[in-house]
């Protein structure tokens, strides 16, 4: 961060050549782990997020169980080797605790938890490589993992970040745009009815910029949503493939 702020928009294009509305390349693979009931890998730009879901299973400790619905638990963590910067500390910190909480609340809206009283559903998200926008990529991965686990949901949640860089509203920030932009607004929606399920924002936006950013987020989410559905179809149209992660160059 000690670096000087780079120019984020050059000749109307962003530093990586995208227009304001372009997402980075996104690859979603469902069912990549054997033990987890549901799993997904999302490679979003240089982000690599692995999500795994267990449950509904016995709720431990028992006094946390609800007689009315399944308890949903979320854990978002970053691997110590995930960033281009120094070695990170393993385990959750204040940031990841907050993200885990707001992500859990987003999923509590869509999971039909009333069907599984006295149980718990665990959603684990591991950031293997980070490059800006990890929470949105993690939510997108977790939604696919939940579907892969066969957990009934009202909708497949998807997420994207919008915000302002060099005075312009844009979608899906890279690491540099995240660090040096004027405003960042991650948003998760239920695409079928357009409900906003996760909503955070920092920085400065006018009322008009906010309205434009929201419109842009909905258009981007539609693209992410289509990719999620395609990833699930790839696994469930035909015989279920062997669960196996592919990262980097296969030897």
């Amino acid at each position: 961060m000690a670096k000087e702020k780079p120019q984020l928009i050059i000749n109307g294009k962003r530093a990586d050549g995208r227009s304001m509305e372009d997402l980075r390349p996104i690859k979603i693979t469902a069912h990549v782990l054997n033990d987890a009931q549901g799993s997904a890998l999302v490679e979003w730009g240089n982000n690599k997020i692995l999500a795994g879901v267990y449950g509904p299973r016995e709720c431990i400790p028992r006094h946390d169980a609800s007689p009315y619905r399944a308890v949903v638990r979320c854990r978002y963590t970053m691997a110590p080797f995930c960033s281009l910067e120094e070695h990170g500390r393993s385990g959750p910190n204040r940031r990841s605790h907050e993200l885990s909480k707001v992500i859990r609340e987003a999923f509590e809206n869509v999971i039909i938890s009333e069907a599984y009283p006295r149980t718990q559903i665990d959603i684990y998200m591991e950031v293997l490589q980070s490059d800006g926008g990890t929470r949105c990529a993690a939510i997108t991965a977790a939604a696919v993992a939940l579907a892969d686990a066969g957990i009934p949901m009202k909708d497949l949640v998807c997420a994207v970040a919008v915000g302002k860089i060099d005075g312009q509203v844009a979608v899906d920030f890279s690491k540099d745009e995240d660090n040096y932009g004027e405003s960042d607004m991650p948003i998760a929606i239920a695409p079928r009815n357009g409900d906003v399920l996760l909503f955070q924002m920092d920085g400065n936006l006018t009322r008009e910029e906010l309205s434009n950013a929201l419109e842009m987020a909905y258009r981007a989410c539609a693209k992410v949503s289509a990719l999620q559905a395609a990833a699930l179809k790839a696994v469930y149209d035909g015989p279920k493939p062997q669960a196996s992660l592919v990262l980097g160059n296969k030897q």
Binding site: A36, P80, C82, G248
Partner: protein
Amino acid sequence: MEIIKELKKDALKRILLQGKRQDGRHMYDYRPISIQKNAIPNAEGSALCHLGNTQVIAGVKFDVATPFADRPTEGVLSTGCELVPLASDSFEPGPPSPESIELARVVDRGIRSSGCLDLKSFFLEEGKVLALYVDLYVVDYDGNFFDAAALAAMAALTCTRMPKVEEGKIIRTESTGLLPLNGKAVTCTFAKVDDHKLLDPSLDEERGMDGRLTIATCGENVCAMQKGGWGAFTKKDILECVDISSEKSKVLCSLF
């Protein structure tokens, strides 16, 4: 759950009496292994190892650190391990479990004692050395995370880029070449069930085993060993396992 464990143990022992393993392997066969190097390009080195259905990611990072007081001219090697809860319904979130600490320490000893890393070459200036962090992420667990983690760690080290260091600061965008290594350390893990010794135990075999023996080798030398579980090994058992490890390690080293 306890009863399922007992039933699985009975099934395992019954099949072993016929001289077979549940998945049809011979006693000293590995499950299929595949290794993907540079799995996490943000890290200075990384690899993903599949050992049957067990999947482990290793990431290597460098930082500038203060050397240990008793080794002021040597770099620091630090091996960490996370049994991430998405890998198995038996892994729970929270502080590191004794199992994850044991795994990290066994892999660390294998690498350290093999001498494959020259920690003296990590000296920068008085009071400043490079610290090399190897982090092991078990993401899918179907038994024998020892060998999978050791393979992932060693494979990650073989493709680790040395970052450029200027005025005691790391410049991560520039590299001065690959990390130099003197050989490769790999481990072979055996499960003991009654009088049988099984190489590369699957999760079901681990659940039914009495004891476990991990042997790290580098070239012709044994460089670290660890016994686990309450079951006992005889002198003869240990020497047999060492012989098999020397043979198998050549195959393991040829995989990456």
